[in-house]
């Protein structure tokens, strides 16, 4: 076992040959944070007394859900054969929605630890991130974690890993993040196998931003990897995409608490603070250079975050609208990919149309809004951006069915994603059936080891955001995992289905769907609303329509009896109070034309919960 380094190398003047930059690629729950905890302890930078579980995950929501939303870089000293090294562990977000962030984190490394649960094997997202690492020419160290578990089957999954990345099953390192077994060996392997960073210390400064987080006290904290040149405190720097310039108020490394240094040299990883308050001014993937001696060519790979999933967020209590606005403004400071604009809905009142990177991003933002700002929210069915061209050759991007142009449509293009699904081979049939029904095109199928299969499909993103994951999980008893990445767009026969209550369109229920699914959607929503909307004083038709053409209809029959049979001396006060209460309740009803709909009915219809009809 290697000893702890006695004399850690000083940042800013570390020889690149003594630096190792690596990421850990792992699926949620496969123990990445626990392994990171053990590394912090074994290298001695966090003493046993200050140790807490999932040390690097800062937000409650991360710790509870076991997901790392924001990555971070930690510098750890490690000694091998009498030589001291500086290991930079760059944490990567583990989810499908953050592929771009993952790719930037990986671009800051020369190697990656591929961490797989020895009881579960590799999952789709891990596989996707592994491919990303291989594309970036990273050296990959395969590791099986949780080998202390009774259910662990290291033999089987070592074979699986070896077949994926080459090499022999016996070369796959076996560790337990929980007990610490094998962790020092892993650190030795990082030093031995992962190449040292290369770069030109004399060239104009170029540093890549791989993460950018908002801190309430310090403003935006930007995490960078220096490629060429040098960064020092008080230096004036420039963002190459926006040309905005800032002074470096502080520069340092995470060890793991922020520790100021004189600067950062070639191959080093650390943080900088410039006093800006909005992460949009410090974008992931951007290149930082020196304002006076700027580089001419930016580092490759920078793209603007592009929302792929849109949903309307509405406060259930309309008076919470200003709080929601303030909350979104705050979250935006730390999340460059979140965007939103006000919208109103007949059914739901005032809210915001929000763009997200994906479904999990939507879920995380909604949860943070509810938890950190105490809001009760309802989200409309997620939608994706469509390019709609009308007969008169106007093309508009439609992120909300209500913006769908009226009149003749020439063509509609929809975003397509490349989807990878990993599952035990017994489920291939049901998965194929599901993907076919969602207009998927099979790209390929491969066995991973003996009994697991990777299925690759091209699918419309719109089909995935609408309950695909729920169906995939329930049809495979939870065994299947899913990853997708954008793969352009395609023309498709899509139509907008409107839902009408007594002839009045209910905006929140309009949807853009494939023509073949329009009838099924219309039927589903009209039946659902029939169950949820209380009877009125008159008959209420519920219709689904494409343009002016009705495709489904249900009818809520009129109330015939609405009177208390008795009203004698002792009933009068009680009955008056009841009527006053009903009157008050009526004020809270949403009106669609003359139809009174309790807001709970709309919410239940959107969430698919039809058991809550109230009189």
């Amino acid at each position: 076992m290697s000893p702890r380094a006695r004399n850690p190398l000083q940042p800013s003047s570390t020889d690149p040959a003594k630096i190792r930059n690596f990421s850990i690629i792992a699926h949620i729950d496969h123990g990445k944070s626990t392994l990171a905890d053990r590394m912090l302890q074994i290298t001695g930078i966090v003493d046993d007394r200050s140790m807490r579980a999932q040390y690097l995950d800062r937000m409650d929501i991360e710790r509870e859900r076991g997901i790392t939303i924001k990555s971070q870089a930690v510098r750890m000293p490690w000694e091998v054969d009498g030589e001291t090294y500086a290991l930079n562990m760059i944490d990567t977000p583990g989810h499908v929605d953050f592929t771009y962030e993952v790719s930037r984190s990986l671009a800051a490394c020369e190697g990656a630890v591929l961490l797989v649960d020895a009881a579960q094997g590799i999952e789709a997202q891990t596989l996707a991130n592994l491919y990303l690492a291989l594309e970036n020419d990273l050296t990959v160290i395969p590791v099986l974690n949780k080998i202390d578990l009774p259910a662990a089957d290291p033999e089987k999954y070592a074979k699986e890993l070896a077949s994926l990345i080459g090499g022999k099953p016996e070369d796959v390192l076996r560790v337990s993040g929980k007990t610490g077994l094998g962790v020092s060996e892993l650190l030795d392997l990082v030093v031995a196998q992962i190449p040292a960073p290369k770069g030109d210390p004399k060239a104009p400064t170029r540093a890549m931003i791989f993460d950018s987080v908002y801190d309430a006290y310090r403003g935006v904290v930007t995490y960078v990897r220096v490629i060429d040149g040098h960064l020092s405190a008080r230096q004036r720097i420039q963002m190459m995409s926006t040309k905005a310039s800032h002074e470096l108020l502080e520069i340092g490394v995470s060890a793991p608490e922020p520790t100021a240094t004189k600067g950062l040299g070639v191959g080093e990883v650390g943080y900088l603070i410039t006093g800006v308050k909005d992460v949009r001014q410090s974008k992931v993937g951007d290149t930082i250079t020196d304002q006076l001696k700027p580089a001419t060519v930016a580092l490759p790979g920078y793209t603007e975050p592009k929302p792929m999933v849109f949903s309307g967020l509405y406060p259930i209590d309309g008076s919470d609208y200003p709080i929601l606005r303030e909350a979104l403004d705050k979250l935006k400071l730390s999340d460059a990919s979140l965007n939103y604009e006000p919208e109103t809905s007949v059914a739901l009142g005032f809210g915001f149309r929000c763009g997200f990177l994906g479904l999990l991003h939507l879920e995380i933002i909604t949860e943070r809004l509810e938890r950190e700002f105490n809001l009760d929210l309802i989200a409309t069915a997620p939608s994706v951006p469509y390019e709609v061209t009308t007969e008169d050759k106007n093309t508009v991007t439609v992120t909300n069915p209500s913006e769908y142009p009226d009149g003749k449509i020439k063509s509609v293009r929809e975003p397509v994603v490349k989807t990878a699904i990993l599952a035990p081979k017994d489920y291939v049939g049901v998965i194929m059936e599901l993907c076919q029904s969602r207009r998927g095109t099979l790209l390929g199928m491969e066995f991973l080891g003996e009994d697991r299969v990777e299925l690759r499909y091209n699918m419309p993103l719109g089909e995935i955001v609408f309950d695909f994951f729920d169906h995939l999980k329930s049809r495979t008893q939870g065994y299947a995992s899913l990853d997708y990445e954008p793969a352009g767009d395609q023309e498709a026969d899509l139509v907008k289905v409107d839902i009408l209550l007594q002839g009045e369109q209910v905006d929140a229920f309009s949807a853009i769907v494939h023509r073949d699914k329009a009838y099924a959607y219309g039927l589903l929503m009209t039946e659902r609303l029939k169950k949820l909307i209380p009877r009125q004083q008159f008959e209420v038709p519920i219709q689904a329509a494409i343009g002016a053409r009705m495709i489904a209809r249900e009818t809520i029959s009129a109330i015939r009896k609405d009177v208390l049979a008795k009203c004698y001396g002792g009933d009068i006060t009680r009955k008056r109070k009841l009527l006053e209460k009903q009157k008050e309740g009526k004020k809270r009803m949403k009106m669609v034309g003359r139809v009174e709909v309790p807001q709970e009915a709309f919410i239940a219809a959107l969430s698919g919960d039809t058991e809550t009809k109230k009189k």
Partner: protein, 403 residues
């Protein structure tokens, strides 16, 4: 007298009425309601303030008349202190519970006390509710001799399976005999029916109406069964043993009642009440709907005197104790403000054949009620809002739109 007591202000322990009550009482008739909170068995649908002998706990039935007489004395004193105009009783109504569980002499004695205290106006209507199995010819004769003029029989249904679901114990075959006996001693008779009981078909209901009509009385009440919270019926429905009464079926049954009753000469005068002539209407019940004054005696009884509503403590033991200490048995009271009084007036008057005045309501609301078929055009043209047949079934909606 259903359900829990309302939430109101605390009533003063001496029962003293608010200042100005006397002025508000001018021009109103005065009636008395006597609550008899006893039943032999509790029916599964009933949430009235009534007790079987095992539930009474220290409030014996035998002392009950003494307590009522104490409250009569207290009422006389309270009304006197308030400076109320001297008014004879226009109507007296004994309800329950089962008033006829008490001996006929007890009811007559209570009536005598009321008569001694306030006097009865000429042609005063004196009614008691009765279970068909708790009276016989002799009992009815005693009532008539003691001054009663009217008896209201809880017949509910002609069908044994419906009566069984309602936990009613009487034998339907006995009904014609007791009705005849009541008529023989000169009493006006009302038959009270319930419809929409779980398991009751439209034909069952038709049979009950047929039987009620064949009894040839001047008055019939028909109430839709209401499943009240906390009753045995509600629990049985919740457990799935019985079906929930269906609103649409109850609406069909109401329409059938209207059709069959009007065919044989009855007219509706209140949402759930039909009479053959105006003089056969229940004047006591009309006093509730036309906002007259009345004093309710007995546990849980409600009163309305000069613009104040108040109500007594519910349990017979608490009621007895208060009176024995010389205190008012009132538990709470309310003086509805102008808005509340207006709402009450509309919700009560709209139930009546004469309807309520259309003055002060926006023309658009009235037009809406007409076009939705809830009130009649003819009456509205002359300024009165009168429910149509389908409006009678949706009177609560009409009130919500008006107030």
């Amino acid at each position: 007298m259903a359900g829990p007591l309302p939430i109101g202000d605390v009533a003063p322990s001496d029962g003293k009425l608010p200042v100005g009550s006397a002025a508000l009482a001018v021009g109103r008739e005065f009636g008395a309601y006597v609550h008899v909170p006893f039943c032999r068995v509790r029916c599964g649908y009933c949430d009235f303030n009534t007790y079987t002998s095992t539930e009474l706990q220290g409030a014996p039935q035998t002392d009950y008349l003494d307590e009522v007489e104490r409250e009569i004395a207290l009422a006389a004193s309270v009304l006197g202190i308030a400076g109320m105009p001297a008014r004879q009783l226009s109507t007296v109504f004994f309800g329950g519970g089962t008033p006829t569980l008490l001996p006929a002499d007890d009811l007559v004695r209570a009536l005598s006390s009321l008569r001694k205290t306030w006097g009865l106006s000429p042609n005063a209507e004196i009614t008691t509710e009765a279970n068909p199995d708790s009276v016989d010819a002799q009992y009815l004769e005693s009532l008539a001799a003691g001054g009663f003029t009217r008896v209201s029989f809880g017949v509910q249904s002609a069908m044994p399976h419906v009566l069984a679901t309602l936990d009613r114990t009487h034998d339907p075959k006995r009904v014609p005999d007791v009705v005849q006996a009541a008529k023989d001693v000169g009493l006006e008779v009302s038959v009270d029916l319930i419809y929409g009981t779980p398991g009751e078909s439209l034909n069952d209901w038709r049979a009950s109406l047929d039987q009620a009509i064949s009894l040839d009385t001047g008055h019939i009440s028909a109430y839709a069964l209401i499943v009240e919270k906390g009753t045995a019926l509600e629990r049985r429905i919740r457990r799935g043993e019985l079906a929930t009464p269906d609103d649409d079926v109850q609406a069909d049954m109401y329409e059938l009642a209207e059709e069959m009753l009007s065919d044989v000469g009855f007219h509706w005068y209140e949402v759930s009440n039909w009479a053959k002539s105006e003089t056969q209407r229940s004047r006591h019940n009309l006093s509730y709907w036309t906002n007259q004054d009345w004093w309710g005696f007995g546990p849980g009884a409600h009163s309305h005197i000069g613009g104040t509503r108040f109500w007594n403590v519910k349990h017979p033991a608490a009621y007895a104790q208060k009176l024995s200490l010389g205190l008012s048995p009132a538990a709470g009271r309310e003086e509805p403000d102008e808005t509340a009084s207006d709402i009450e007036r509309v919700l009560l008057e709209i139930r009546l054949r004469e309807g309520t005045s259309g003055a002060n309501f926006p023309a658009t609301v009235i037009a809406g009620l007409i076009s939705d078929g809830l009130i009649t055009y003819e009456a509205a043209r002359s300024g009165q809002l009168v429910l149509t047949l389908s409006g009678r079934l949706r009177a609560d909606e009409v009130v919500r739109r008006l107030v």
